[in-house]
């Protein structure tokens, strides 16, 4: 018995030895948030709803560290922070750690970020994709978004080109040019996204129609995969998605159906079906916000990035899958969007219940009244993301068929 005990102790000692040695090496002090000394770099916090496994959060994370490095500030990142009091606590911990600017990446964080802003007036808070800063009128609380509908429109053009190619080859007839779209929720943000995608495709392939289904979650790999499979079985010949897992791209790869992705390239997972993807590049915003705080300038309460600022981007075009001439066409349309000769929501290109619109009031002020108070159609187009960065296009246009709705 004694021998066994000694043997056990020896084993333990051998396991513990390298750990103790490493500890003696002197890098045990790097944990935790020690108080910031005078000349230490400014700290900037980022609160994420999920982690790198979500394409959405990954899109925030990837450019954040890069931007922080470029601007000479120290990043503090908290991942998997739910949209609840945890967000307020996380923001509080970041304030304690010395952060001067704190950014959150999910819509549902907004209320808790606002609460934290009220309690910490010396720190700037930004709720990305939030829509409540204009109404809240809290000096140190801001919203930011980008006119991603422009990127989706461009991605839609690439999809339309692909459909035309399929029609020309005789794979499908013009009437069979039906796309499928797997969205998360039936919110303005998603409605604006799928409508711009559809209009982009329609601008090159007039006979296109689209089925839309909703998963009821921003991140549910199984549901997104099922949604894509359902659309494919329903006769959709091209798929796009607005949800954050790899569900739809992998379903498309398995079924051999072309996919227009979102948040970043999914070519590595779907080399034979990925066409292109649109994404928001947050770097221009990060750099703008960090610089404003560094210089002690006031930030705008509601920031909207676009193609010009480099906030809206297309990722690599997969030449193996995309139709011929797509790259050139995209360049042409992008130039048109930039110089204002093309508008995504041009009212002459779509109808609602068979009629063209010349007036629409949207709910821009995100208050408790839910009034559709702001006229958003003028000069022949719907002015999306101009009166507020967060999308407010919530019209159901003809040609798009909602298979279901999901408001959460």
């Amino acid at each position: 018995m004694k021998k066994k005990l000694i043997a056990l102790m020896m084993c333990l000692a051998m396991v513990m030895m390298p750990m103790l040695a490493a500890c003696g090496g002197g890098n045990s002090g790097d944990s935790g948030d020690s108080g910031d000394s005078g000349d230490a770099a400014m700290k900037v916090g980022l609160i994420c709803l999920h982690d790198e496994n979500s394409t959405y959060d990954n899109n925030f994370l990837a450019s954040f560290e890069e931007s922080c490095k470029k601007m000479g500030v120290e990043p503090v990142i908290k991942k998997n922070v739910p949209e609840g009091q945890e967000c307020y606590d996380a923001a509080g911990e970041m304030v304690d750690a010395g952060c001067k600017l704190i950014i959150s990446d999910s819509f549902g964080h907004a209320g808790f970020m606002l609460q934290a802003a009220k309690d910490n007036p010396d720190v700037q808070f930004v709720s990305c994709t939030g829509d409540n800063a204009l109404v809240a009128k809290q000096d140190n609380f801001h919203n930011a978004f980008a006119s991603i509908y422009e990127g989706r429109y461009l991605a839609g053009v690439a999809a339309g080109m692909k459909l035309n190619e399929m029609i020309e080859k005789g794979d499908i007839t013009a009437e069979q040019a039906k796309m499928g779209y797997a969205g998360a929720f039936t919110y303005a943000e998603v409605v604006s996204g799928y409508t711009s995608f559809y209009l982009g495709a329609k601008s090159v392939c007039p006979s296109v129609t689209m089925d839309v289904t909703f998963t009821g979650s921003w991140y549910d790999e199984t549901a997104e995969k099922e949604a894509a499979n359902k659309l494919i079985q329903g006769g959709c010949v091209l798929i796009s998605q607005h949800a954050d897992s790899m569900g739809a791209p992998t379903a498309c790869e398995e079924a051999g159906v072309p996919d227009v992705s979102y948040n970043g390239s999914t070519k590595s997972a779907a080399p034979n079906t990925y066409i292109i993807s649109s994404r928001i590049n947050w770097s221009p915003f990060y750099e703008y916000a960090i610089q404003a705080v560094q210089n002690g300038e006031t930030m705008g309460s509601d920031w909207t990035g676009n193609l010009e600022t480099g906030s809206v981007e297309l990722t690599e075009l997969n030449e193996d899958v995309a139709a011929e001439g797509t790259a050139a066409k995209l360049e042409e349309v992008e130039a048109g969007l930039k110089d204002g000769s093309i508008h995504v929501f041009d009212t002459s290109t779509f109808t609602v219940d068979g009629k063209n619109l010349d007036s629409y009031k949207a709910d821009v002020e995100a208050d408790e009244a839910y009034e559709h108070e702001t006229e958003v159609i003028s000069d022949g187009y719907f002015h999306e993301s101009e009166y507020r960065s967060a999308p407010y296009f919530d019209l159901q246009i003809d040609g798009i068929n909602l298979l279901d709705t999901n408001f959460g």
């Binding site: 490493a22 935790g32 948030d33 991942k79 998997n80 549902g108 039936t186 919110y187 709910d363 959460g408």
Partner: protein
């Protein structure tokens, strides 16, 4: 050479009794071994120094005043759910519906805060929402208890299903009250007037929930240990026939115990909405109804012991979050460490209840001579 009857390598016997000292030695020993296993996993998979990983976990839970308060708040809420479940489980009524009962309280509180905020004074609103939450929680527990007592329905399935019913009703009302329209979220309730929000005690935002949970825990300790009702429910748990024989009305005890359980869960829901989060989401309860079962079971349904087992859970979750922040690790890594530690802690219960005997090696004995 006479054939000896082959003795098995290992055989296990149930321990008759074990001293408290011995019991705790096994528990602490298992945690130590768990820490060593976690250290090995950490070193192999991340090449990080496990000691600094552990230090970071401690820092994540206790590193600053705010972190300690956040830990205490989490512990209080989890503890209340666990304490609420304890009497039911002690009675061998498998109440898996703690989550649903909390959500019933959440819904009642949010309803009062949203619909009555302009009709009542703030004090009155808090009082009314408390009563509503208590009734809602109790009702949610009463329904399965009544069916069990009356028709002997399966309480495990019943309470489990009641969770989904509660969540779906909450989802329905979120759509009705969402701000802004179309967002699918209620956001913070009464953000400007703070109507129906619990007052801050002594300048500490989370002190009130902590105090309430301490009171509830002490109450439950006394109730289970010293009250007649507490004794009755443990008799029902041991054997329903014995209970009937000594004249205990089993149905009454079941219903009474579950109403108590529902009251505490309703109170927890009230604290979540009016006290800490000030919002209503379908995930506000965050799985505590199930986690609470484990906390209660690990502590053998002793409310004071649940403080320790609850602390372990909250510590692991907050510490796990901190290591992912400090070292840029995926949150799953914290979950892996939590899983390993729980495996050993739960495993230690086996060694407390049973003794393992190894076969004596005859060859070695011969060599020793």
């Amino acid at each position: 050479m006479d054939k000896q009857k082959k003795e098995p390598l290992i055989h296990i016997t149930k321990r008759k009794e074990i001293s408290k000292k011995h019991e705790w030695a096994i528990r602490l020993g298992s945690i130590l071994i768990a820490l060593v296993v976690c250290a090995i996993i950490t070193t192999i998979t991340t090449h990080l120094n496990p000691i600094s990983v552990y230090a970071t976990m401690i820092d994540g839970s206790f590193g600053s005043e705010r972190k300690i308060w956040a830990l205490l708040k989490e512990l209080s809420i989890l503890l209340m759910v666990s304490v609420a479940l304890a009497p039911a489980f002690k009675m061998k009524f498998w109440n898996l519906g703690g989550g649903g009962q909390v959500m019933a309280g959440v819904l009642a509180t949010a309803t009062c805060m949203i619909t009555l905020d302009e009709k009542l004074s703030n004090g009155m609103l808090i009082f009314v929402s408390l009563i509503a939450a208590l009734i809602a929680g109790a009702l949610w527990a009463f329904i399965p208890a009544f069916c069990k007592a009356k028709w002997n329905t399966n309480e495990t399935l019943f309470t489990l299903m009641m969770n989904y019913v509660a969540t779906q009703i909450v989802a329905y009302y979120i759509i009705i009250w969402e701000t802004p329209k179309g967002s699918g979220k209620i956001g913070i309730i009464n953000p400007n007037t703070n109507a129906g929000w619990l007052p801050t005690v002594a300048g500490k935002q989370y002190l009130l929930p902590v105090l309430i949970s301490i009171a509830v825990t002490i109450f439950m300790y006394i109730y289970l240990r010293y009250s007649k009702q507490g004794y009755e429910l443990s008799v029902v748990g041991e054997s329903q026939n014995t209970a009937k024989y000594v004249g205990i009305n089993v149905g009454k005890v079941i219903i009474r115990t579950l109403i108590l359980c529902g009251l505490i869960c309703g109170l927890t829901g009230w604290l979540l909405v009016a006290g800490t989060d000030h919002t209503m989401t379908t995930t506000l309860e965050a799985g505590r109804g199930f986690l609470g079962v484990m906390v209660a079971w690990l502590a053998h349904f002793n409310p004071l012991g649940m403080v320790l087992s609850g602390l372990l859970m909250v510590f692991m979750s907050r510490g796990g979050g901190e290591i992912s922040t400090a070292f840029g690790l995926n949150k799953s890594f914290g979950d892996i460490l939590t899983g390993v530690i729980l495996f050993f802690v739960i495993g230690s219960e086996f060694f407390i209840n049973y003794q393992v005997h190894f076969r004596k090696s005859h060859r070695k004995e011969a060599a020793d001579v």
